[in-house]
Structures are given as structure tokens and as C-alpha cells.
Amino acid sequence: MNNQLSEWRDLALQFEQQINHTILGQQQAVRHCVIAVFARGHVLLEGNVGVGKTTLLRAIAQGLGGDYQRIEGTIDLMPADLIYYTYLDSKGKPQVDPGPLLKQGESLATFFFNEINRARPQVHSLLLRVMAERSINAFNQDYQFPHIQVFADRNRIEKEETFELPAAARDRFMMEINIDMPADDHLLKELIFNTRFHDVDSLIGDIETGKIAYYQLNELAEQIQQSIQPSEKLKEYALDLWKASKDPKKYGIQLADVEMDLLIQSGASPRGMSFLIRAAKVNAWLENRTTLLPEDLQAIFQVTMAHRIFLNPIYSYRQEQLMPELITGILEQIAAP
């Protein structure tokens, strides 16, 4: 590993440490977010209300530096609201100003979409293009956002007045990370009683910003991807994982009370698998390895794959129970070599 990558790795680990200092008991979620940052993938956070999803994303945005915009998803939000907004100025003249997406131009580094499932499918479509192509078309011209990274969150408590993300939009997210409360009583007490965690703004403000130059991330990500090359055996292992996600029965995976023939409606997409490998390479880089190992794939398999596998509607009401079992079953059934 060359010196530059080593230096960046040290910075990345410092960045991770800082966030872990801010967000307690979420080491794994933080690690996944860090991987997504250096793999240049978009992240969707899911979890209960008040567990720290927004704080985590704000902490990451603060740590990364660069321009930052956020928007709250509401049922009447339309795509145009992201691009521009109109108003009457002090002289009574109508004015058109750039919306959250266009306001920062190319320097927009982090776009945070809060409660994404409250927005309508039209908004999801716009976001789909932003995430996939890092550009939009407005006012008869294309706008590029080369450094944009989208973080979105949704809570899983409310289902009313929400719009489920379409499969195509979910597939654009590199990772879907579940945030749960820490299980450790000591951490919970710390979260409740330590006043440091009561004021989120000052908590986020403590994070050192700009150590990682956001405008260099694309180049760095490319270097990471080029420096780590998988072996043939690892490619076979990844292929087996992929095939098992499409046809688990063929690989001897059996879940309780499930007709395995009928379980899967659609397995992971090729784009999903490429995200898996990108993220796995970043994991290897963070572990200071130039060799991509099966454990790198295993480390991010759940977060990169679970939202890309679609269950048959008859099993979808048990999705929250079946999906982790299926992912575990795949990882515990596929051997390497």
C-alpha cells in the first residue's frame, strides 16, 4: 500500500474515532458509514425515532467538511422544491432562487434527506438520478455534483402517509444501515445522564472538520479500488454469494416455515454486487490489507445486500424476521474456498 493511501487510512480511522466519540455504541454502523464515504456510495439509515440517525449523519457531514444541504421529506414536497424556490422580494417582484440541490453548485458534498419515505415517488425519481448520475437537468441545462453523497433516513415506526421507496431508488443506495439502541446499560446511562449528549449542536460542533478533503475523495476512492485486486478464488466466492441470494435453496439454505422455492422474488442486482465489492475493498483498506478476503465481503454483506433482495409478497410481512435469517444463512452456507 503506498504512502498516500496509508496516510489517508490514518485520517479515515481518526475520522471514525471522532464519530464514535460523538455517537455512542454504534461502532458497526459508524464503520459502515465510513466505508460508504470512502467507497463513494449513498447511505440509507433506518431505525426507530430518536436513536441518533440524524445525529450520526450530521456528524459525518461535519467531519467531511464541504458544503452540506438537508431537506425534510413531507407528503407535499415536489421535485421542484429541491431545485428552486420562488418568492416575492421586498420590492414585490417575483424571484427564483436555487433550491437546496443547486444552491452550492459543484461543491455540494453531502445531501441529507431526512424522512425520505414521507416524500412522494416524484421526489424519489429526482433523487434516483442525482444518486445514479450525480447530475440533474434544470432551467434547460445540466448541473453536475461530482462530490455529492446522499444520506437519507427513514423511521420504521410510522407507515401512514409514507411512500415506500421504489426498488430502483433503493438499489442506488450502496448501503441500508439499521440503527438500533445500544444494548449496553453503561452506554445507555451515559446517553441519558451525560449533558454532553443533550445539546446535539454543540456535540456536532466539537467534531474537527476538513481533515478529510471532500474534493479528493473521488480520487482516493479510485486509488483504493485500483490498489486492491481480488483473486480468482475470491471472485468465485462473491459469485456464489450472489447466486445464493437469487436461489438460496440450491445452496442448501433452509429457513423455518418457508417454501424456499417461493421465497425470493428478485435477488441482488449486478450494480448491488459491484457496490459490495467496492465496499469490501474499502474494508480491506481500513484493515490495512492489500488482499481482499472473504471476511471483507462478509463484513458488509448484510448492509449492502439486504435491501436489494426482494421477497415474494406472501413473505414480505415477515421481511424483518426472514431477511437477517436469509443473509446469515447465505454467509453460513457458502464456504471459501
Binding site: K233, L293, P294, A335, A336, P337
Partner: protein, 298 residues
Amino acid sequence: MHFTLFVIFICFILNSCSSTLSEPIISFQVQTPRPFGYVIGDEIKQRIVVDVRDGMALQYNSLPNKGKVNRWLNLNKIKIDKNKIHQGIHYQIDLTYQLFYAPLEVKMLKIPSFTLQFKQFGNTTKKQVPYWNFTTAPLRELAIRKDEGKEYMRPDSPAPLLDYTASYYRLLVSLLIAFIITFYLAWLYGCLSFLPKYQIFKRPAKRLSQLPNTDIENMLRVMHRALNQLNGKPLFQHQLADFYNHHPSYQQLNNELNWFFKYSNQYFFSTNAPVNKTDSNKIKELCQHCLEIERGKR
């Protein structure tokens, strides 16, 4: 008053000179068993109990001699017990006769009498043991005639067997319990080497010995497969701690297992896989050590 005292004194003197004191044999008793129902070969026990005055000694030669008494009677055993008692000496003489008379009908016989002799200061006192009558019966059935088509002699009917069903079932249950306990102990101590659980590394060890030392890839695969089978799912290096929780006896191979996984990772997933001549031996050694743990020898 003087006269009364004189009479009492005379009576005391006379009492002291009474015959009971001068009698040399205080008591004499012959104890015999039932006097009927004897057949050829039966033993008859006769006990003579004699209490004699102190100083009287039984003359042992006055007892009948051991051996043949007459044509049909044998004296098999003579046992004499001599004990000191308050008034003198207590003799208990046990005589065991055996009958050899085969009568054709019920017949009365007698054990002959004999005279016991006791000696004291050269004087001999005699006491006769009277003869004793008893009846003996034929052992063979003489009333049934063979020419009438009846069986002249037949063996006794066999003794009825005791019902041993309950004991038999108890034995079976006990054996079953003993077997289960033995099986359980053998399982605990890892002696059941025929179980699949104890054969995970048996075949791989054999297979590894057959593979050429240069075929590292297949050696690694064989070893990985065995470890996966033991773990119940694919085992990777980062899962070793969890593996040791379930199989603590393999903790002692931590260094070897870590080397193996590191080597395997390098071999399969690194672009520059180093191959050393001794690597195959190390893999074989690891398998052998695993086999020893599996058999409870480590």
C-alpha cells in the same frame, strides 16, 4: 430351745450327707430324632447329654468305635463337647449313624445299646445308653409289578422351577441402565470413535497422507472442509474466537490454526502466494493434532 437347735443341727448334718451328693451322675439324657420314615442312606443323629460330678472322667473307649457297627449300620461321626458347670462336668456326645438297610417292607430296627464308663480315683461308674427302635421303609416301590405294564422304577419328577420372570426383567433393566451409563461415559470420554463426531479428521488425515506434498491447494481444501464440518458452518479466521467457545479443546492449536488460515488466505486470495517446502508438513501436522484432540489424546 436347746433341743430345737440340736434337731436343726442334726438335720443340717444329715442333709450334707444326702445321696444327691454321693451320686456320681447328676443327669443323663438321650435325645433321639423321629423314630420312623427312614430309608437306606439316611443319617440318624443321637445326642447323649450327661452331667457328672467333679472329678468323674468319661472313658472315651467306652463309646462305640467309629465305623461299622453291624451289617447295616455305620457310625460315621463322634463329637464330644466337654464343659465345666457349677456342679461338675457337662458332656454332650453327638453320634451320627448311617443306615444301610434296604427293607422290602416297613421294618423295625434298633440302634444297639452300649455302656458309658466314668472313672474317679480308680472307681468306675457305668451308665447304659439304651437301644433305640425306629422303623425303616423301602426306598423302591415293590407293590407295582412290571409285568402289568407299569414302570418298575422311575426317576423323581423334576423339581418345579422357581418363577424368575421378575428377576429376569430386573436383570434386563439393570443391564440396559448399565449399558446407557457406559455409553454416556464413553461418549463423555470420547471413546466412541466410530461416531461421525470422532471421524471428522480421520479421513482428511488419510487423504492428506496420500496427496503429494506439492498439491498444497487440495491439502488446504481438505483441511478447510474438515474444519467447516467440525464447526457446522464455514470457518474463517475472524471467527476462531467463537469457534473456541464451542470447541474449547482446540484452543491449544490457536497458533497453528491462525497460521493455517493466514497461509490459506495468502494462498487463495493473494496475488503472490508463497509456497514453502515445509508447508505441506505443517498442514499434515495440524490435521494430526486435530485428530488427536478428536480422539481425546491431547
